[in-house]
């Protein structure tokens, strides 16, 4: 049985630079299976499937192809380092419907296959063909950036180690054989180094963009956590004030919170968090009461 392709996490900057495509060079795979189409990223990730979370900033209908009823949709999904391009056509009907109705801007999660399109020599366009696409909350985006930063830094560390070994006359492939996680990915790293000329300069530059991405999230997450904390305090206060012994109607609570200019989704998240922490409970459906 062939294992399911991992949904790789990588930043748009790295993804869009992944112009090296491999179809079939990995030996030892199950022979009667179609080998997956792979792109190799500059740090040596074997990309087939990706998982990205970002802000959808633009949706464009590219019109029907001649003699074809179905539309082609193009969307731009931004992460702190760049933009992912997503195309959904007649074979991704669910994603196409999603894109036709999604509000812009908003947070979305996409699972899809990496595609390379090479209209002429030396110009390759990398895009995602979605398998799944969905609206998500902002915290999921923040976590995705963190996860992706962690995984990317790990790869950069390994790569940097390999390159410095090589610089000191060590045998590159020898090192990979003893330290590489598995043969498929070590081969990918070797290919990446040979094709992109990935070097220490690239690595330190990339580290800086990861740093920028993290700082960007930190600002954002700090703000959100602050906002949520404020909202929680406000709600606890209101629950105390409005309590007539039987708890407070949820709709009534939201109205009061809204009058203090707290957005409804923040208030909703705060109530859920309070419920999860056990500070308040629902004696009846739609009624919130402090413990």
């Amino acid at each position: 049985m062939a294992e399911r392709e991992i949904a790789q996490r990588l930043f748009a900057k790295e993804f869009n630079a992944s112009t090296l495509s491999l179809t079939n060079t990995f030996s030892g795979d199950v022979p009667d299976m179609n080998p997956p189409n792979l792109l190799i990223s500059p740090t040596g990730v074997r990309i087939n499937r990706v998982f990205v979370v970002g802000v959808i900033t633009e949706v464009e209908k590219l019109g029907s192809e001649a003699g074809n009823e179905c539309d082609l949709w193009k969307a731009r999904i931004s992460d702190p380092t760049g933009v992912f391009i997503v195309y959904a056509g007649q074979y991704q009907p669910e994603a196409a419907i999603f894109l036709s109705t999604v509000s812009v801007p908003s947070y979305v999660a996409v699972v899809g296959k990496a595609r390379a399109y090479e209209p002429e020599k030396d110009s390759v366009f990398i895009s995602i063909r979605p398998e799944e696409i969905n609206s998500v909350e902002g915290t999921i985006r923040d976590r995705w950036v963190l996860d992706t930063a962690e995984l990317t830094l790990k790869r950069l560390d390994l790569l940097s180690e390999i390159l410095s070994d090589q610089a000191h006359g060590g045998e590159l492939s020898e090192h990979m054989r003893s330290n590489g996680p598995d043969t498929g990915s070590s081969e990918a790293v070797l290919n990446a180094v040979a094709f992109y000329g990935t070097d220490q300069n690239y690595i330190s530059k990339f580290r800086q963009s990861v740093r920028k991405a993290l700082l960007f999230i930190k600002e954002n997450a700090g703000l959100e956590i602050q906002q949520k904390g404020d909202a929680e305090n406000l709600i606890v206060k209101l629950l105390k004030e409005l309590n007539n012994g039987k708890g407070v109607q949820y709709s009534c609570l939201l109205k009061e919170v809204g009058s203090q200019r707290v957005p409804e989704e923040v208030a909703d998240a705060a109530v859920r968090s309070l419920l999860a922490k056990g500070e308040c409970y629902e004696p009846k459906h739609g009624v919130i009461k402090l413990v």
Binding site: M1, E3, R4, E5, I6, A7, Q8, R9, F51, V53, V108, A109, V111, E131, E132, I133, N134, S135, V136, T139, I140, D142, R143, W144, L146, D147, A149, E150, L151, L153, S204, R207, Q208, V210, R211, L214, L215, I217, K218, A221, G222, I225
Partner: protein, 433 residues
């Protein structure tokens, strides 16, 4: 005969030691006269003169055995089993066989008059992996030769018992010795061959891992929190996960606290450890693991389903595969793929967990289905609320031809301290000057 064949004859006679040069020459000459291609002629000759006796191996080399081999050993147990094959009743004989180097399971698909204690030499048998365990198979072409008693063959399989840490116990072990703390224990009444029997089930853990165990013999004085030292427990497989089986062969004793090589309290209070999905995939089955990842797909078959009241199978249109037309029992579940960037596993959530994670009760889901006149509406709604989200699940993993699956015992949305993770990462990333 043409000289140009001389190197080939040379090559053949090297491969076939003890066969005369002229014999090979005559044979090749004969075949070539029939215009048999040279390669085929060489193969034919090799096959004709190669010694018929298959090579003999020892049990320790069983995993790299040739297709067909011979082996000498002692039968230490044998059991007759009735099976129904294509509507016909047949018997097979299975048990254990040992030699000086190890123990192995065997299955005989014919009656070879095997008895416990027999010393036998078997020819033309082959090895097959059954539940990831090597097993010697006696087929129609196998020959059994009974030999007189041989004192060089051990009588007891216990001499091959290995002492291992819990995490090291794997399906290829038959008997194993180890130490651990009993973290769970239950008594269960079951009926075996018409007799009421009490069996003990539980979980045993050390500082490396934990495994389920069951005992057919009473374990007086053992309770939750006791550390025990056991010898010669059987390793059984249940859904790809090794489990320990205490029988009359197993001996055990309580381990005083000062002799525990690990901290008992730590094991008793230990929170389950999170592991990467990539490392779950490396193992055939793991007991009680926790993984976190993103739901990257909700599979068809999620949502509202109906089950057969007899066998609990999922049914369509009130027709069960085994029981025909039945009145289905309503149920709800989530089948999804969880991916953490190191690997992907299937996860299964039962009704209770689905209700929590999906955020709607089954009744609410049924209302959605009713309003939209479609059961798919619930599946679609699940996809909308689940895809992309973070989820942690705890349960056992097992590998099958469909991939690795974790059947969730618990599932929750993992809390995450984003800011402290952020700060940790930023510490490792000094600003470029």
């Amino acid at each position: 005969m043409n000289d140009k064949y001389a190197p080939h004859i040379e090559e053949l006679s090297k491969a076939l030691e003890g066969v005369g040069y002229t014999d090979i020459q005559t044979e090749l000459d004969n075949l070539l006269r029939f215009r048999v291609p040279l390669e085929e002629a060489k193969r034919t000759i090799l096959n004709k003169f190669r010694p018929k006796e298959a090579c003999e191996i020892k049990i320790k080399d069983i995993l790299k055995s040739p297709k067909s081999f011979a082996l000498k050993g002692r039968i230490i147990s044998v059991e007759k089993k009735k099976i129904v094959l294509k509507g016909e009743t047949a018997y097979l004989y299975s048990g254990k066989l040992l030699d000086e180097t190890g123990v192995c399971l065997f299955t005989a698909w014919d009656d070879f008059c095997l008895n416990e204690g027999d010393i036998i030499k078997i020819y033309n048998v082959h090895m097959k992996l059954w539940n990831n365990r090597p097993e010697i198979n006696f087929g129609q072409r196998s020959i059994v030769e009974k030999l007189p008693e041989d004192p060089s063959l051990p009588k007891d399989e216990k001499i091959f018992t290995q002492t291992k840490k819990i995490i090291e116990i794997n399906p290829s072990d038959l008997l194993v010795s180890s130490q651990g703390v009993v973290t769970e224990i239950y008594h269960r009444d079951i009926i075996v061959k018409g007799k009421d029997t009490i069996i003990i089930e539980g979980v045993i853990a050390d500082d490396t891992g934990k495994l389920p165990f069951s005992s057919w013999v009473p374990m007086e004085g053992v309770d939750i929190g006791n550390a025990i030292n056991f010898r010669d427990a059987h390793v059984r497989l249940f859904r790809g996960i090794p489990s320990l089986n205490f029988t009359h062969m197993t001996s055990w004793e309580l381990l005083p606290d000062n002799k525990c090589p690990f901290s008992k309290n730590k094991i008793m209070t230990d929170e389950p450890s999170y592991i990467s999905i990539g490392s779950v995939l490396e193992k055939d089955g793991l007991f009680d693991v926790v993984v976190t990842g993103n739901i990257i797909s909700v599979r068809p078959g999620s949502g509202l389903i109906e089950r057969c009241p007899v066998c609990n199978r999922v049914i369509q249109n009130n027709v069960c595969r085994a029981h025909g037309t039945v009145e289905g029992i309503r149920d709800m579940r989530v089948k999804a793929i969880l991916d953490d960037g190191t690997g992907a596993v299937y996860i299964m959530l039962n009704r209770e967990l689905s209700e929590v994670i999906y955020g709607r009760s089954m009744e609410e889901a049924e209302n959605i289905a009713k309003l939209s006149m479609s059961k798919d509406a619930v599946y679609e709604s699940m996809k909308r609320s689940l895809i992309g989200t973070y989820l942690a699940v705890r349960g056992n993993s097992s590998k099958s031809e469909f991939g690795t699956t974790i059947v969730a015992r618990y599932a929750w949305v993992p809390e995450d301290d984003l800011l402290s993770r952020l700060d940790d990462l930023l510490l490792k990333l000094p600003e470029d000057i």
